[in-house]
Amino acid sequence: MGCTLTTILSIRNVSKTYRVRGQEGVLALDQCSVDVVQNEFSVIVGPSGCGKTTLLNIIAGFDELSEGEILLNGSVLASPGRNSSPGPDRMVVFQHGGLFPWMRALENVCFGPLARGQMPYAEAREKARDLMARVGLQDIEDLYPESMSSGMRRRLEIVRAIMGQPQIMLMDEPFRALDALTKGVVQDFLLKIFDTAPHTIFFITHDLIEAIFLADKVCVMTSRPGRVKKMIRVALPRPRSIKLLNSPEFLRLKDELTDAIHEEALKAFELGEREAAR
């Protein structure tokens, strides 16, 4: 029992205050602390507006923190006054689709390595085709995103994210807009990639079943201001199959998670009502 797991991402006491016009500052994140270990699938759940997307944006480099610090692989990524800039070490899969509409599938996947000038054009194309073939997407190479189904688009975006071999993959409610059936297919797709070529994943969702189904560890965030309230370990065996959804362990985890989240959801709802009334 002596394996040391490297902590890839370390979020320490991160707080974020928003400046809103004409009002006092709004505290979005309040002393959040989370650690993500190598090749671990971490999921963050929380009610709407709790700040989970804000946290992801800070890690990704799209936003700044006000207090605390974030370490990537031991070195400081972000601290007050020093912001991280976005980079391929923390590839993002966006909620509303980040594939470039004006590029075909293959070009989208190649974009990262070509943008960094890492390899010549022909080599990038070969690698991209190879990767797409390995995950079963070889047929859509020449399609534009508009011609693809939403499930294909999500899968392609995941492929683009792993193409750059990121240190950690940041996924911002990526399957939110999918219908239930497509969601299952894409979740399986992601899990299959995770099983064959492990990645460190930081995944945000509000769907509790999705959270348990995918995760090694689920962190529950409180309503605004967001704080990590509870951490639940998911020790279900991999590879995960749908059959697990009815197993007693799964149901127990679901209970635990629902309890933790429900009171936060209620608080968030009331907060929202109060704000709308203002």
């Binding site: 799209f62 391929p88 993002v92 689709g97 004006w102 974009f111 943008a115 960094r116 534009y144 508009e146």
Partner: protein, 256 residues
């Protein structure tokens, strides 16, 4: 949506009928000298003038002069307007500094620039091209800026995540993302350019279709005026269609 041959024919016949009726009314008004229609050329006169003018080399020269001026001005307007428009749409600082001046100058129509252009440009050719340039420049800049501005933040983020430099983002995200609007601006600009060339040639040019119409008037070759009008209309429409078709090929990812 493919229309059946029957549908096309069904529409063609009433349309041909409508035009024939219009031509008939025209001829009738002229023949019976209703009001001042006696001064207007009759249909046979116009047809004769058309048959004489269109196959001739004069027409080729005039059409080429005008087309040449329009194309030169339009390409210049694209070369200057697209990069400027992209920067305005992309960077707030550029917009704040450049846009107010553009909005100040934009309401001044190309025609209003004609006297100034005639006086201050040494050659007629330069002044006409300048007028057309003014005409095309503003629609191009405005539409391009709108195009750059509406690109969603997500795409910029995705590009930065992939490690793209600012220059690459400009080429691969801003330019390509704004393309549908650039195409619209180019098409509108071409239309305005065409109108401007006619005005400029009528007032100041020594050749070209606009000048031809004015000359026909001053030489009392009235049927030629009408021939010229229709020729200008047809050429302008053809060029607009060409640009729109070209534009579609530049935006293959939008199938609507």
């Amino acid at each position: 949506m493919r229309r059946s041959t029957r549908e096309i024919l069904g529409n063609l016949i009433p349309q041909a009928l409508s035009l024939s009726i219009a031509v008939g009314i025209w001829q009738g008004l002229v023949y019976f000298e209703v009001y001042r229609f006696g001064y207007v050329p009759s249909v046979p006169q116009v047809v004769a003038a058309a048959v004489d003018y269109i196959p001739s080399s004069r027409f080729l020269h005039d059409a080429w002069s005008s087309t040449y001026r329009v194309l030169t001005a339009w390409l210049l307007a694209l070369a200057l307007g697209v990069p400027l428009g992209l920067m305005i749409g992309w960077k707030l600082t550029v917009r704040d500094v450049v846009f107010p001046s553009i909005e100040l100058l934009r309401p001044i129509p190309p025609i209003a620039w004609i006297p100034a252009a005639i006086v201050f440009f040494p050659h007629v050719e330069a002044s006409v091209i300048f007028i057309c340039f003014i005409g095309a420049f503003f629609p191009i800049v405005l539409n391009t800026a709108t195009g750059a501005r509406q690109i969603e933040e997500t795409y910029f983020r995705a590009a930065r995540c992939c490690g793209a430099s600012e220059r690459l983002i400009f080429r691969q995200v801003v330019l390509r993302g704004a393309m549908p609007y650039i195409v619209i601006g180019a098409a509108v600009g071409m239309g305005v350019c065409w109108m401007a060339v006619v005005a400029a040639e009528m007032i100041a040019g020594e050749r070209g279709l606009g000048y031809m119409i004015w000359e026909a008037y001053s030489l009392a070759q009235y049927p030629l005026i009408i021939v010229g009008m229709f020729v200008i209309g047809a050429l302008g429409a053809a060029m607009s269609r060409l640009i729109r078709g070209l534009g579609r090929s530049l935006v293959p990812w939008q199938r609507n």
